[in-house]
């Protein structure tokens, strides 16, 4: 009974109380709508307490809010162990900071006479509850770690069930007592907001960050000199603090991120077997290609003849690429006379390799700068970037006994003759030195 009141009743009481109470306080006691600064009474230990407390609690609350309001996004993030560990570490560090700050503030409230004069009971209650809440939170983080992960499946749906007016405590009812106490105390704090100094969360003087500095001018002549000093020192100090804070936070984030990425960059890839196999296969393919090129070069250096294809494999419309004796690309077609037609494939303009398929006018295209070459004459089209014709290559035809039966010189003259019935069995070669059969 008590448990279900704390988990289901108290939240609504707290939220409604907080809203209604805030409105009531704003309407009836508007000028108390703040934390009632005691800086004038004591400012040394206030800085040592207030700064760490607010910095710490801000980070902690931001983490809570992110996990509870965007549980799905958050769950995706904390799936990364690096992120989860970082978040837990940052959370603990911020809690410690807040704890230290709060302790300083509590001691100040209890020991400084001037501050005590303006301290109400509620102020002390607030301090005590916060101290208890932080201790509970740290205990949870230590005893039941990785709350950043497990809360997304328990506390976040619970909170959303409350907010969507379908209260459901089943997700949190079995959580450890520590967590339930933390929850109940949290709702208590929400309820306390309008009735204590905590209202200042609704009236944070953000404008202080960019408004012009306030110059305090004393009417007492004794103080004139110090008022001038205040006017020159204060804005400088504020600017310096703001800049230093931004720079150190940004710098720390930047350094951490850069160091992490750099570390992993130089650590190098650790590939899975499958990835490694794929990478090795790719490299092997390139090595084979390099090997093929080298073999071609060696073959051309050593061999008197290089075989292109059998005559029957040649096509009249689609050329066959081969590499000539100078390691330049060339194309082999079947000419209209039934004999091979070998032509250089290296564009005479800027050396691109021409395409192998003929267009309707019997021309091949160099794709780089659009020259069309007639393969019968080798001539480029009028107005093409290329001016020189593609040269024809000499060839020899050999039968299967390696006897040269016919050849064509680089000048285009044919020697020997081909028996049409045996033509299919002949092979086309290029020769290192020109051959002339009679």
């Amino acid at each position: 009974m008590m448990q279900s009141f704390l988990l289901l009743g108290l939240p609504y009481v707290a939220i409604l109380g907080c809203i209604a109470g805030s409105i009531w306080r704003f309407r009836t006691r508007r000028f108390s709508y703040s934390a009632l600064s005691s800086q004038f009474l004591e400012d040394k230990s206030l800085v040592l307490g207030s700064m760490p407390w607010h910095l710490g609690i801000f980070v902690v609350l931001a983490g809570h809010a992110a996990a509870l309001l965007f549980p799905r996004v958050w769950a995706g993030l904390v799936a990364s162990p690096t992120f989860l560990l970082s978040v837990e570490a940052i959370g603990l560090a911020a809690s410690a900071l807040a704890f230290v700050g709060l302790s300083v503030l509590l001691v100040r409230r209890l020991t400084n006479g001037r501050v005590q004069a303006v301290t109400s009971v509620v102020d002390l209650v607030v301090l005590a509850i916060f101290l208890a809440q932080i201790v509970l939170g740290v205990l949870i983080a230590v005893i039941h770690p990785y709350g950043a992960a497990w809360s997304t499946g328990t506390l976040a749906p619970y909170l959303w069930s409350l907010l969507t007016l379908r209260p459901d405590a089943s997700l949190v009812i079995d959580l450890p007592p520590l967590v339930q106490a933390h929850l109940a105390l949290a709702w208590g704090i929400v309820l306390l907001v309008p009735f204590s100094r905590l209202v200042h969360v609704f009236s944070v003087p953000l404008a202080y960050l960019w408004r012009a500095p306030q110059v305090v001018v004393w009417s007492n002549p004794r103080r004139w000199s110090s008022s001038v000093a205040a006017a020159t020192v204060l804005p400088a100090r504020r600017l310096f603090l703001r800049g230093a804070a931004a720079l150190s936070v940004g710098g720390a984030l930047l350094a951490a991120g850069t160091a992490e990425t750099l570390g992993r960059f130089f650590f190098g890839p650790r590939l899975s077997e499958e990835q490694q196999a794929r990478l090795d296969a790719r490299k092997l393919e390139r090595l084979r290609q390099t090997q093929r090129e080298k073999e071609l070069a060696v073959e051309r250096a050593a061999q008197r003849y290089i075989r292109i294809a059998t005559l029957s494999e040649l096509d009249a419309r689609k050329g066959r690429y081969f590499i000539d004796y100078e390691m330049r690309p060339a194309l082999a077609f079947l000419g209209e006379d039934g004999l091979p037609l070998l032509i250089s494939a290296k564009c005479t303009h800027l050396g691109c390799t021409v395409a192998s398929e003929l267009d309707a006018q019997g021309r091949v295209l160099c794709p780089c700068h659009v020259s069309f070459f007639d393969i019968k004459t080798g001539m480029p089209n009028a107005g093409a970037p290329a001016k020189e014709p593609l040269p024809h290559l000499a060839w020899v035809l050999m039968d299967d006994t390696q006897q040269v039966v016919a050849s064509r010189g680089a000048d285009g003259r044919d020697y020997g003759r081909v028996d049409p019935e045996r033509a299919a069995s002949l092979s086309v070669y290029i020769a290192k030195r020109e051959e002339r059969v009679s």
Binding site: R264, F265, P269, T290, P329, L350, V370, P385
Partner: protein, 371 residues
């Protein structure tokens, strides 16, 4: 004071004394007492520093890529792909290198044009200008040599086309001289066609020789800039100035910060390769035909499209003339007014923009077809 009758040695000595005055070569004069003019064109004073910043990014990312890149025809493409796919942060580093290279060249072009328009080459800043022009040439050579290293279709074929255009010079030379451009091309390539030897020397140029040359030229350039200060840059008699250190330096660093942010975001979001169709990024295949759409990088468009449109000799003669004029600007334009120089620079900028963004259109209008 100086007369033509002085012996050459004393004229040289006077020239050097004026450019490197011993009384100014100390930290106080070089840093503390330097003043930067403030006027409408002051933004141009940031361009040199910005180019330097992009160069520093290139050095750092380039060194990081060196840890994984393998400069052989069989491994180059696979190693580059492995950097992008498998090395943590590798894709970002590679993109950063590519984007910052383009940014550096763009900034260098604007820097050259603005300093020209502001007559920043005038006496005694001749050495600043000449070392700056040398740096600009080095930067373009960086681009040309770096382009080949991934060894993909567009890289190798565009390099082939680029080198082949040297050989085209042969047609204008008489007799045996006609073969010389071929020798030059093959010396650059290291073998008759673009292959392993070419990759090795482009790699050596890109990662050792050019960086060393840059450091040397940059040393002269920066020393001269600091010794003589920024040129006044405008015709106004009285200009306001601000102290170089710390005020201008801090602004300079803020510009660097913004530039780094921008180039990082772009490198994270947009792979440089994404601007090219995939077939051009396949590994180079020496036995296949050249794929469609082989073009140099955008920063060579201003010379590439004229090569496509005009007769070769016109382009060669024109670019030799322009390059020579640019190097000798301090002596050629010594008496030209800033207004005239500004018109010339604006014309050059318009030409750059036209060729870089609308080169294709210009080509199609003049030639009626795809290049």
């Amino acid at each position: 004071m100086s007369t033509a009758t002085d012996p050459l040695s004393s004229r040289v000595a006077r020239f050097v004394r004026e450019r490197l005055p011993a009384e100014k070569l100390n930290a106080r004069q070089l840093l503390i007492e330097k003043e930067v003019p403030q006027h409408k064109a002051s933004w141009a004073y940031y361009l040199g520093g910005l180019a330097l910043f992009f160069f520093l990014i290139q050095v750092v990312t380039g060194l990081m890529l060196l840890f994984y890149y393998q400069p052989t025809v069989s491994d180059a493409h696979a190693s580059v792909a492995a950097i992008s796919e498998h090395v943590a942060g590798g894709a970002l580093i590679r993109n950063l290198h590519a984007w910052s290279a383009s940014a550096m060249i763009a900034v260098v072009i604007v820097h050259v044009l603005t300093t020209f328009a502001m007559k920043a080459f005038a006496r005694p800043r001749e050495l600043t200008w000449v070392s700056g022009m040398t740096l600009a040439l080095i930067v373009f050579t960086f681009g040309f040599t770096g382009y080949l290293l991934p060894w993909n279709q567009i890289a190798v074929n565009a390099t082939k086309v680029g080198l082949q255009s040297i050989e085209a010079l042969g047609q204008y030379l008489p007799g045996e001289l006609a073969r010389w451009p071929t020798y030059v091309r093959e010396t650059i390539q290291g073998e008759p066609s673009v292959g392993q030897a070419t990759l090795s020397r482009f790699f050596a140029l890109h990662v050792i020789l050019l960086p060393l040359a840059t450091v040397a030229a940059l040393g002269v350039h920066l020393l001269q800039v600091q010794v003589h200060g920024m040129s006044r840059g405008v015709d106004v008699e009285q200009v306001k100035t601000e102290r170089f250190f710390p005020f201008f330096v801090i602004k300079d660093l803020s510009v660097w910060g913004v530039a780094f942010f921008v180039v990082c975001v772009v490198a994270m979001c947009l792979p440089f390769d994404a601007l090219l169709p995939y077939p051009l990024l396949e590994p180079f295949n020496p036995l296949g035909s050249t794929p469609d759409g082989i073009k140099p990088e955008w920063y060579f468009f201003f010379v590439y499209y004229p090569l496509e449109i005009l007769p070769y000799w016109v382009v060669v003669a024109g670019s030799t003339l322009v390059l020579g004029t640019m190097f000798l600007a301090p002596w050629i334009f010594g008496r030209t007014s800033r207004r005239t120089l500004r018109v010339l620079a604006l014309g050059a900028a318009a030409y750059f923009l036209l060729m870089t963004f609308f080169g294709q259109t210009v080509y199609e209008i003049l030639k009626g077809g795809q290049p």
